[in-house]
């Protein structure tokens, strides 16, 4: 245990501060009016300098920026001069004009800030400290010198020094309310996570745009301290910005459910609705459909819009709740806009109905909007309906539906699945190969049909069909039955059955199948896979000896297996040779 701050921390802090300070500095850069108090009216020099700077003619821009220092655009000219001197590698040339400007207006915050920044950039630490002290003397009741100096120190990863400056500010000014952001950064950089969280909570009250910076800074908090961080952000009063920061943080920590917990009890208003919608967007991107749905439903309760309702329904359908999808986005929401229905509501409704085994209703619905559908959309909907018929077990209707969608339907991957369900391996082999999905089921089916030497295998088709109807238990039995009839892919079918049994937590049945593979098909690629899955199950049960025996057997028996790196890693975890959770 030791405290080390290195380049990684420097980068993190710099990045975080760049986000934070970027927005904070904009007003100073854009404002600049304070600089022009005694300036002549002519500010053409400044605009000419800007053009030269944009053209990369830095050297030529220098005299014009300098000439503009005492005009109405003086503040911006100073910042321009700072930029071009930096480009030219002679930032020290800025010090003399700064001295003149500061002498004329010693309390000016922009002059002083640029001076500190320049001195720091030049590495003139003694002068930097002295410039800070002079600024404090010139503006003894102002919080700005402390804040700017602390920020610079934090940028340079000098958290302890920044902390000292802030402590002095607290002593002199009697409060830290103006320094919560800097305090939060300093504490985080020093690993004082609780103190940092407290400061972030305060800082977010007045600067809600910092929520991402807060989440970023607190992300490295060790597990042991995270609950305290949660307590700080969840403590009353409820504030949207702190809850949003916590939600971000929880998602980064790998706990999206806690992220939603941080947001779900926000009092409904426009800010809360925006937070829910943003959280849903992130969840949608990461395929966390249950949380996306909950967030969108909350937002819908505040303000119902068709867009939100469609997103919520899609999330519900993707999370496996087809009835909710139908309820959340009824066609009546489209207020008679048939084109909108055909474009947005129909695919969703048809998919939900097919999933629920109501393809007839889907068919009727689609038929009602037939004239508004493009050929592509129509084919897609027909395949959805065909899938619905498959789910009801009516293969004839499914085939008829596909046939109705024309030649494209006949050659689609849905047709490939239908062929497989029929046991027509020859057609399935051709059609599935051109499939557009990338699901584990397709990978399994492709592997099977590639290894099968026969053109017809009804038992295998029946097993896949049962699986498609989501009857996992019966599907497992069917795969075992199919294995008896097709010895060339027996190990593959048994392994699939074992995976289904394992998913149903029927470990004894799974172990019996793995044993069959290892005893009867030990020379197939499924044998090491069966052994690895068995070992993983034993490790979960904390049977280290059993897991070790299987892993060692796998490694020594199948030295050419592609699963060897995984097996060795499992073995290291079993033996605690690497940290848990690696």
């Amino acid at each position: 245990m030791h405290r080390v701050r290195g380049s990684r921390w420097a980068t993190r802090c710099a990045l975080a501060l760049a986000c934070v300070l970027g927005s904070a500095l904009v007003p100073a850069a854009a404002g600049g009016a304070v600089l022009g108090a005694q300036a002549p009216a002519d500010s053409m020099a400044f605009y000419k300098a800007l053009d030269l700077e944009t053209a990369g003619k830095y050297r030529e821009a220098v005299p014009l920026f300098r000439a503009a220092l005492h005009t109405a655009t003086g503040g911006n000219a100073l910042l321009g001069l700072e930029r071009v001197y930096t480009e030219l590698g002679c930032a020290d040339s800025l010090l003399a004009p700064l001295d003149t400007l500061i002498a004329s207006n010693p309390r000016d915050e922009t002059y002083r800030t640029v001076q500190l920044r320049t001195l720091q950039g030049l590495g003139l630490n003694a002068q930097l400290r002295s410039a800070f002290d002079n600024w404090v003397s010139a503006a003894p009741t102002s919080a700005v010198p402390y804040r700017e100096y602390a920020r610079l120190l934090l940028e340079k990863n000098q958290a302890a020094a920044a902390d000292t400056v802030l402590a002095r500010a607290r002593q002199v000014l009697g409060s830290t309310k103006d320094f919560q952001l800097e305090l939060a950064q300093a504490r985080a950089a020093e690993g004082q996570w609780i103190e940092s969280a407290q400061a972030w909570r305060q800082a977010l009250v007045t600067a809600d745009y910092l929520e991402q910076a807060a989440a970023y800074a607190l992300a490295p908090t060790p597990s042991a301290s995270r609950q305290q961080i949660r307590d700080i952000f969840l403590a009353p009063p409820i504030e949207v910005s702190s809850r949003r920061a916590l939600a971000d943080l929880e998602t980064t920590w790998g706990s999206p459910s806690d992220g939603w917990n941080a947001l779900k009890d926000l009092p409904p208003d426009s800010a809360a609705a925006e937070a829910w919608s943003d959280y849903a967007t992130r969840s949608e991107t990461e395929d966390r459909w249950t949380f996306a749905r909950q967030a969108l439903e909350s937002a819908l309760r505040w303000r119902h819009t068709p867009e939100l309702a469609l997103r919520a329904a899609t999330a519900a359908l993707n999370s496996g709740d087809a009835p909710a999808a139908l309820r959340l986005a009824p066609i009546s929401d489209a207020r008679g806009d048939s084109a909108l229905v055909a474009r947005s509501y129909l695919p969703l409704q048809a998919r939900a109905l097919a999933t629920l085994g109501r393809p007839q209703e889907a068919e009727r619905l689609v038929a009602g909007y037939d004239r508004l559908l493009t050929p592509g959309a129509k084919n897609s909907l027909t395949r959805i309906i065909a899938w619905g018929w498959v789910r009801t077990g009516d293969m004839n209707r499914a085939r008829a539906a596909l046939a109705a969608s024309g030649p494209e339907g006949d050659s689609s991957d849905a047709a490939g699945w239908l062929a497989l369900y029929d046991g027509n391996i020859k057609s399935a082999r051709t059609l599935l190969r051109g499939g557009t999905e990338s699901t584990p089921e397709l990978a399994l089916a492709l592997g099977l049909v590639a290894r099968l030497k026969v053109d017809s295998a009804p038992a295998i088709g029946k097993a896949f069909l049962t699986l498609a109807r989501a009857d996992t238990s019966d599907a497992a039995a069917q795969f075992v039955a199919a294995a008896e009839q097709t010895p060339t892919v027996r190990s593959m079918l048994l392994l699939t059955a074992a995976q289904l049994e394992s998913a149903l937590n029927r470990e004894t049945a799974a172990i019996a199948l793995w044993t069959r593979i290892l005893n009867g098909d030990s020379d197939t690629p499924e044998a090491p896979e069966a052994e690895l899955e068995w070992a993983r199950l034993l490790r979960q049960r904390r049977d280290a000896a059993g897991a070790t025996a299987h892993l060692e057997h796998l490694i020594l028996t199948y030295p050419q297996s592609a699963l060897l790196p995984q097996a060795r890693r499992e073995l290291e975890l079993v033996k605690s040779a690497i940290p848990p959770g690696s």
């Binding site: 245990m1 030791h2 405290r3 080390v4 290195g6 302890a160 020094a161 609780i194 490694i555």
Partner: protein
């Protein structure tokens, strides 16, 4: 019975066949070469394989400078099995190839060192520390090398004598708990650490933590003087010598023992008994997170911190300087540097006679040093974790399965095997 039925001529033929058969057995691989150059898939586990082979009384040699410091082990089914399980590259070596290897070693800056006895290893660490918090325990765990954890109670009751090799990591032997008080005084883990150490000092009859740690430091020194092997990393290197040199001086700040550091502490330090350093200057300020000017990088002192570079291992004569040669065996000569509470050692503070094993070119500091004390030897390696250059409190532990060829970690494991080498009279 059957022999009586066999004619004399047949017996001669059989005898000839038997001779042929034994000759073919001799021609089979009798040794396994564990290459340690880029051909090796898992350098770190190769050390564990070798250590456990020695422990099982199998023959083992360390081929210094031969293909990155390879190992030559007996070809036994168990060693093959362990190598296969761990994914360690081995090459069967028959007599002909062995002769060629030996000839190459004889003709070059290489040497073969027999490894005889697996050292008994102790790691000085609090009982509640996780192995993932210390690069050495991480490496030992990953390589599959057994070790025993000891701490102040065990040292005070004389248990050091039970071990051949002792490792120290980021312990602060000045008793100031690495000055974490400055930043973490309210952190629960620091409060717990303080309470445990205070209780230990009281239990073992010392007035405060610094007094206990100084006594522990002296007992570690005695262990080396009597023939032990000491390997220290991170803050333990610097503070061990500070505790020994300052054993009769108050070098601790008031936050830990209630009294300020002796204002003349610097002048009162007695460097005669230390391992590596002399004439260093103590950090007088209680608010500066550094112990002295021994460390060149001063990572925890804003304004003094130096950036990381790379360090280069010296190439010693394997035949004339086998000990430092063993310590620098590697498949890389230039290694990325990494921070620690103590990252490096200023050359100006190093005693004459200390062997520099690795240095950063052009820098006033060195990284890796070695020396003798009495009948024993010591090695100091600056930094905390060779594969986590800026490790900070709370950072996740390093997963060595992702760094199985780490040259920085190899240096640690060289130290573990080095005490196994058969003692030879030094040639220089």
């Amino acid at each position: 019975m059957y022999s009586s039925l066999i004619s004399a001529s047949c017996r001669r033929v059989l005898a000839g066949l038997l001779l042929l058969s034994s000759a073919s057995v001799a021609a089979r691989a009798q040794r396994l070469l564990v290459p340690m150059d880029d051909a090796q898939q898992n350098h770190l586990k190769a050390y564990g394989l070798t250590y456990n082979a020695i422990k099982a009384a199998a023959s083992a040699e360390w081929l210094l400078n031969y293909r990155g410091g390879s190992f030559l082990l007996a070809d036994t089914p168990e060693i093959r099995r362990q190598a296969a399980l761990a994914g360690i590259t081995t090459e069967p070596v028959d007599d002909k190839r062995l002769a060629a290897i030996r000839a190459e070693i004889a003709a070059n800056n290489m040497e073969s060192v027999p490894l005889e006895k697996a050292p008994k290893i102790a790691v000085y660490t609090p009982s509640d520390a996780l192995p993932w918090d210390d690069a050495v325990t991480l490496a030992l765990k990953y390589a599959g090398i057994d070790y025993t954890e000891i701490y102040d109670d065990e040292v005070e009751r004389g248990d050091l004598s039970k071990y051949d090799w002792v490792h120290l990591h980021h312990e602060d032997f000045t008793g100031q708990l690495n000055k974490f008080y400055l930043s973490y005084r309210d952190a629960p883990w620091f409060i717990d650490l303080l309470q445990k150490n205070t209780a230990a000092a009281k239990r073992l009859g010392f007035a405060n933590i610094p007094a206990l740690k100084k006594d522990v430091a002296m007992k570690i020194r005695d262990f080396v003087e009597r023939g032990g092997f000491l390997f220290a990393m991170c803050g333990a290197t610097e503070t061990l010598d500070l505790a020994i040199a300052g054993r009769n001086v108050d070098i601790a700040q008031s936050f830990i023992d209630g009294t300020p550091m002796d204002p003349d502490a610097d002048a009162k330090m007695d460097w005669k008994s230390t391992f590596a350093f002399q004439n260093a200057h103590l950090e007088q300020s209680p608010f500066v997170n550094a112990m002295s000017d021994i460390d060149g990088h001063q990572v925890n002192v804003p304004g003094r911190r130096q950036p990381l570079g790379t360090f280069t291992l010296f190439n010693f004569s394997a035949k004339f300087d086998p000990v430092p040669s063993m310590l620098v065996q590697n498949h890389r000569a230039v290694i990325n540097d990494f921070y620690g509470v103590t990252t490096s050692f200023m050359k100006a503070d190093i005693k004459p006679g200390v062997t520099i094993l690795a240095t950063e070119e052009g820098a006033p500091w060195v990284k890796y040093i070695h020396g003798d004390l009495g009948k024993g030897t010591w090695t100091f390696y600056g930094g905390h974790d060779p594969e986590d250059p800026s490790h900070a409190i709370g950072n996740p532990p390093t997963d060595l399965s992702l760094f199985k060829n780490s040259p920085g970690y190899r240096l640690i494991l060289n130290n573990v095997l080095f005490p196994a080498a058969k003692k030879k009279p030094l040639k220089t």
